[in-house]
């Protein structure tokens, strides 16, 4: 029986499996068609579009204040920052300068958004790699930020608090106290995150030198946010093209040069400290003033093209509005960071093990509605 001695078929032949669209590690409806030889990934082909809602097409038939509500539904963990991008583009087109009060509040809320997004990343990333405790710790602390949002904005995740010309309402009287309480609490709790997960040997072994991206590759593929900065690409929009109150605060841009999954994780952990620093510089100094500028009931943008980019929790979100002078835009394009980050997934995971694909996918922190739009 000579033939029975042959190696198992799985190691000789390439075979294809479907990961998703319903798979716990893809955090949404993302389907990856993975070609494997044994356990080694030979090719990954993402299939997207399961929740394509045609937001760009919908924007063409609605008004600018209405667009704000659709942007919440793209990257739902960076809802405030998405809103802000559209507001800034509209304000720039109309030549409106919002008050310092609005700028400060927007910046504080953006940073709170970043913290809660990274908390959820930490929670789910730990869970993807087998540490279920992270999920409970992360969501416990994230709840405090969502409570602050709820009190001031009325919504927890889908907030729509920014509007062209300012904010929907003034902040709640408790806002400053609760935010300060949260920062005080989270400064004590964040080291706990490191003790629980960052230093864990198994965790590090699964991430170091996995899915490495060089700085040149990051620039060529347009990777921004924590993914780009982990490779040493200085791409923070808050530093390079400051908007709102980011030019009035001091903070460090977190940069690593290794570019592997572990450092993508590290950038996010360090960014939470920086976000807390930014909030602390602003929270006691919110100047008095109007919370919204007086706007015309129907907002019409002058004919032309407007581009605004902001730094969401995942990278650079660009909003490109082409206006023909009507109350609806002629064309809106969202350059969403997750869409760009998905493209080099094949490059990152070629040659890795199938279990590493879960780690790489998790370290990119993809939000599928932002990819599909």
């Amino acid at each position: 029986m000579e033939e029975a001695v042959k190696a198992p078929v799985a190691e000789q032949e390439e075979y294809v499996i479907n990961m998703g669209p319903q798979h716990p590690s893809t955090h949404g409806v993302l389907r990856l068609v993975v070609s494997l030889r044994g356990e080694i990934v030979r090719n990954v082909e993402p299939h997207i579009g399961y929740i394509h809602r045609g937001i760009e097409k919908m924007c063409e038939s609605i008004t600018y204040p209405q667009i704000i509500h659709l942007t919440d539904r793209m990257d739902y963990l960076s809802a405030h920052i998405n809103n802000e991008a559209v507001c800034l583009a509209v304000e720039k087109a109309l030549g409106i300068e919002v008050s310092d009060r609005v700028k400060y509040i927007r910046t504080i809320l953006s940073e709170l958004t970043r913290i809660q997004s990274h908390q959820l990343f930490w929670a789910t990333f730990g869970m993807d790699l087998g540490g279920l405790t992270c999920f409970f710790y992360g969501l416990r602390d994230r709840e405090m930020v969502l409570d602050i949002f709820e009190e001031t904005c009325g919504g927890r995740m889908i907030v729509s608090y920014n509007c062209p010309g300012g904010l929907m309402n003034d902040i709640h009287p408790n806002f400053q106290n609760r935010t300060k309480e949260f920062i005080k609490y989270f400064r004590k709790t964040l080291p706990e995150y490191d003790r629980l997960l960052t230093g864990n040997v198994i965790f590090q072994e699964r991430l170091r030198n996995i899915g490495t991206v060089t700085r040149e590759q990051a620039i060529a593929w347009g990777l921004t946010g924590p993914v780009g900065r982990a490779s040493g690409f200085s791409c923070d929009v808050r530093k390079h093209n400051p908007y709102s109150a980011y030019d009035r605060v001091t903070f460090n841009e977190i940069l690593y040069k290794e570019g592997d999954s572990f450092h993508r994780y590290k950038v996010r952990m360090d960014e939470m400290w920086e976000s807390m620093n930014i909030i602390e510089q602003l929270i006691d100094n919110i100047p008095p003033g109007a919370y919204a500028e007086k706007m015309k009931p129907v907002i019409k943008l002058p004919e032309g093209e407007y581009f605004q980019s902001v730094e969401t929790a995942r990278g650079e979100l660009g909003v490109y509005i082409v206006s023909d002078g009507n109350k609806n835009p002629y064309r809106v394009k969202f350059r969403s960071p997750n869409f760009v980050h998905l493209a080099p997934l094949n490059l990152m995971s070629k040659g890795a093990k199938i279990a590493d694909l879960v780690a790489i996918n998790g370290s990119l922190d993809l939000i599928i509605p932002d990819i599909d739009r």
Binding site: S61, E316, G318
Partner: protein, 151 residues
């Protein structure tokens, strides 16, 4: 570099193109045939050094179709916008820029999916979000009586 200097520089790199200093960025409007060559020069020139492709936007101008490229220099922190148009609505073809910036791959697939613009020399031009039975929804003459309700 100031936008006015950048516009002057762009005019020397692309003499046949129309260079406008827009409200925000320098905008270069090109014939589709010149697109690849000019983009390559803009990328490799050490003064423009456009090493990052921010986004590719497919446009429907009513009669023409077109693409808008937002390019950034990470070395010099400036942006330039490239624009091109084709008038053939049935078979619009534009050169792919994937060879210069791999980021273009997904952006161009999106433009193909939603506007039906074909990109020459694209490594993998397939539909991205929708299946092949759909039309091209971001075109202005797209009609869908079932899914899009007229207001």
């Amino acid at each position: 570099m100031e936008n006015s200097q950048l516009a002057a520089l762009a005019a020397t790199i692309a003499p046949d193109a129309q260079v406008v200093q827009g409200k925000q960025f320098v905008e270069i409007t090109l014939r589709p045939a010149d697109l690849y060559a000019v983009a390559e020069k803009l990328k490799n020139n050490s003064d423009t050094a456009l090493d990052m492709l921010v986004s590719v936007t497919g446009m429907d101008y009513g009669t023409d179709l077109g693409t808008v490229y937002h390019l950034r220099s990470t070395v010099r922190n400036h942006m330039i916008v490239l624009k091109t148009r084709v008038s053939d609505r049935d078979n619009p073809e534009i050169d792919s820029l994937c060879a210069l910036w791999p980021a273009a791959e997904f952006h161009e697939r999106e433009a193909y999916d939603l506007l039906g613009i074909r990109f020459r020399n694209h490594p993998d031009l397939r539909r991205l979000f929708l299946d092949s039975t759909w039309g091209f929804p971001l075109r202005k003459d797209y009609k869908d009586d079932i899914n899009i309700l007229a207001r």
